[in-house]
């Protein structure tokens, strides 16, 4: 290749690369549908494949249902479409998943990333793109990382870990608690919170990390039994909590056990069978199947997906409607040219009443409300006991 050809080739490569990365700062150029209405997209980033895909699909279904109903109501001056992006719940795949949504100019906001590790890995990209991400990821450190486009739609894990500890110390008077996490960003964050608060309450703590997908939980369960702890906290997902619960039952550990919202799924009871009995589960989420406020939603969901709404389905539905509301308030569609930046600002200042709770955010994107619910596995079903603070004060 001679020099002239080389420089031409280089120029081609550079232009190609620029075209691919699409220097897209403004975002949200309106695509117009067949009836002349603008088309805006709401994205979702979370685990749609992989071990944790059940959690992701719950959320995705909530988003899709909200989009479908928003269009069906026909009172919007624009069309809403859904854009999926799968990160398999993994931090490694998160940046690519984020880029996919960022590159689609009609995406004005997204629900997710679903997992804390993934949210950490893609937060900078979303911030640079000015694309608002309304996330259920609950690791307390997320708003501290300077991501300007991250808002959290649930109370964070300081609240959740605190609720576990409050229940154990005030209600059950435990003296020594064994705290286990799955080595994920989410689990480790929760364990740190629990440990700190337990120590403040004067309770002895034994901590262990059992990496997700450990081939055999017998050793871990045996260690719990030998520790002499009178209660256990598990911070991780149901896919690991279930085999762990089985082994705990096998080795005969019959003390109170509590697990975090990643375990709050009916799949936990399906996988663990009898071993799930008596486990307590905390969640920032409401059970859409029993709460009166989400009755209609649960019915619609069942009609649409032939299944009961699972973990965070209703919260995702709310988050999607929250974004749609803000676009509407910005005059989207009526010849108004709505940009990502404007949606971001609007969402951060939003005060929106959803089916599950009131949504508003602090300056750093942290959720402004609270409310952690406690459930128990009884007769193979997850049954709500109530709000932790209420349970404790009732004594």
């Amino acid at each position: 290749m001679n020099r002239r050809k080389l420089s031409m080739f280089a120029a081609l490569v550079v232009t190609g690369a620029t075209a691919l990365t699409g220097c897209n700062k403004g975002g949200g150029a309106a695509v117009v549908g067949s009836d002349g209405k603008a088309v805006y997209k709401i994205g979702f980033q979370g685990p749609l494949t992989g071990e944790s895909s059940a959690i992701g699909v719950n959320m995705e279904n909530g988003v899709k249902l909200a989009v479908k109903q928003a269009n069906a109501r026909g009172d919007l001056p624009f069309h809403v479409e859904y854009a999926a992006s799968d990160d398999a719940g993994s931090p490694d795949q998160s940046p690519a998943a984020a880029q996919k949504l960022i590159d689609d100019e009609s995406v004005l906001g997204l629900v997710g990333p679903a997992f804390s590790g993934a949210a950490k890995a893609s937060g900078r990209l979303y911030s640079e793109a000015g694309l608002v991400s309304v996330s259920h990821a609950s690791n307390p450190s997320l708003p501290e990382l300077g991501f300007r486009s991250f808002v959290r739609s649930v109370p964070n894990d300081n609240a959740q870990g605190g609720a576990m500890v409050t229940y154990f110390t005030k209600r059950l008077q435990t003296k020594k608690v064994y705290v286990v996490d799955d080595k994920s960003e989410y689990g480790v964050g929760l364990s740190k919170v629990a440990e700190k608060q337990l120590k403040e309450a004067g309770v002895e703590v034994v901590k262990a990390s059992v990496p997700s997908k450990t081939p055999d939980y017998t050793a871990a369960a045996t260690a719990v039994k030998h520790s002499g702890a009178d209660a256990l906290i598990y911070n991780g997902l149901y896919s690991d909590a279930a085999p762990f619960a089985k082994k705990l039952k096998d080795v005969g550990f019959d003390k109170p056990k509590i697990a975090s919202d990643g375990t709050y799924d009916k799949k936990f009871t399906e996988l663990a069978g009898d071993a799930a009995e008596g486990w307590l589960l905390t969640c920032q989420c409401l059970d859409a199947n029993v709460d009166p406020g989400t009755k209609q939603f649960a019915e619609d969901y069942k009609t649409e997906y032939k299944a009961a709404p699972g973990l965070y389905a209703a919260e995702s539905y709310d988050a999607t409607n929250l974004i749609i509301e803000q676009i509407k308030a910005l005059g989207g569609g009526d010849g108004g040219d709505v940009r990502r930046e404007a949606v971001l600002e609007k969402v951060k200042k939003a005060d929106y009443k959803g089916l599950t709770r009131q949504f508003s955010f602090k300056e750093n994107g942290e959720f402004a409300g609270n409310g952690i619910y406690l459930s128990e596995v009884k007769g193979g079903r997850i049954t709500l006991k109530g709000d932790v603070d209420t349970l404790v004060s009732a004594g």
């Binding site: 895909s53 990496p211 997908k213 871990a220 030998h226």
Partner: protein, 306 residues
């Protein structure tokens, strides 16, 4: 570590070691005849688990016990062994044989095996869902009896007994039968074996199938002990490969020894250092052993032919 702890971790350690041993033998057998590592072996293991899961879910009643339990376990062993054998047979046909016919370099086999592994892994996830699944209860998973006061549950016992039976059976097969002689002949010198009338292609295929039976059954036993998912093959597969290398790749008794050693190291590491150090401990042992014996514990001494 107290004596009490030592006692309680022994059975889980042996059971995990037995599992690794059985998977490791699959790697070692194939290496023996082809001098290649079958990197899709972890998917043979995974599919064996799935085969047993699908069949047992269809037939298992609510709370089986006694003879029904025994029959269910035998059915699980048979189905998983068959599925494992079928998978291994297909792998050899698709990912190995065409390349052998063209005398491809070793690296190409590695790539085709990894490709086959990805294909099977993702296909399984697509077909059967990406959620973990629980094996139906085959017996009241109670503690069977106590050895020196340590509880032994049925699944652990089954793991150990089945693994031992398979290992002894395989040892006899390789040492005493005509097929075994042929396998050893091909392992030692394929060209000479071919000249003596051994059908090399057939022997290679059968070697894959034998390893597949063991891998498939290991998948079923693993599923009984934990759960079945399309990702379940990866970690045990890598660990068992390490076990095969540790014991001396190509050496069946070495694979057994390496598997047992790693299972015990991983389990006893929990009371000693904590669960987080599981793989660190296992691979530290691997590195230390290979520093002193580069060909593994029972492997050939370097500079001499096996």
């Amino acid at each position: 570590m107290t004596l009490l702890e030592f006692r309680d971790y022994l059975v889980p350690g042996l059971a995990l070691g037995a599992l690794y041993s059985v998977i490791a033998i699959g790697y070692t057998l194939v290496y023996g005849v082809l001098k290649l590592i079958n990197f899709a072996h972890s998917e043979v293991f995974m599919l064996g688990g799935f085969g047993a899961l699908i069949v047992l879910t269809e037939v298992a009643p609510g709370h089986p016990s006694g003879l029904v339990s025994v029959l269910l376990v035998l059915l699980g062993l048979a189905v998983s062994g068959l599925v494992g054998a079928g998978t291994a047979f297909g792998l050899e046909k698709v990912a190995y044989r065409p390349l052998r016919k063209r005398n491809a370099p070793a690296l190409i086999f590695l790539i085709s095996a990894i490709g086959a592994s990805f294909f099977l892994y993702n296909l399984t996830g697509k077909l059967f869902g990406r959620d973990p699944k629980a094996m139906p209860a085959l017996f009241d998973n109670g503690v069977l009896f106590h050895v020196l006061g340590a509880p032994v549950d049925i699944v652990k016992l089954l793991l150990i007994v089945a693994a031992l039976a398979m290992i002894v059976g395989l040892d006899l097969l390789v040492r005493r039968t005509k097929l075994g002689s042929a396998i050893r002949a091909v392992a030692q010198d394929p060209e000479a074996a071919g000249l003596m009338g051994v059908d090399i292609d057939r022997i290679v295929s059968r070697t894959f199938v034998i390893g597949g039976v063991l891998g498939g059954i290991a998948g079923f036993l693993f599923g009984l002990n934990s759960q079945v998912s399309f990702t379940m093959g990866f970690i045990p597969g890598i660990t068992a490969f390490a076990a095969a290398v540790l014991g001396g790749i190509g050496n069946i008794r070495g694979a057994m020894l390496g598997g047992m050693l790693l299972g015990l190291v991983e389990t006893y590491n929990v009371p000693l250092f904590g669960e987080e150090w599981r793989y660190v401990a296992a691979f530290a042992v691997l590195v230390v052993v290979l520093m002193f014996r580069p060909t593994g514990i029972l492997g050939a001494k370097l500079g001499r032919t096996a």
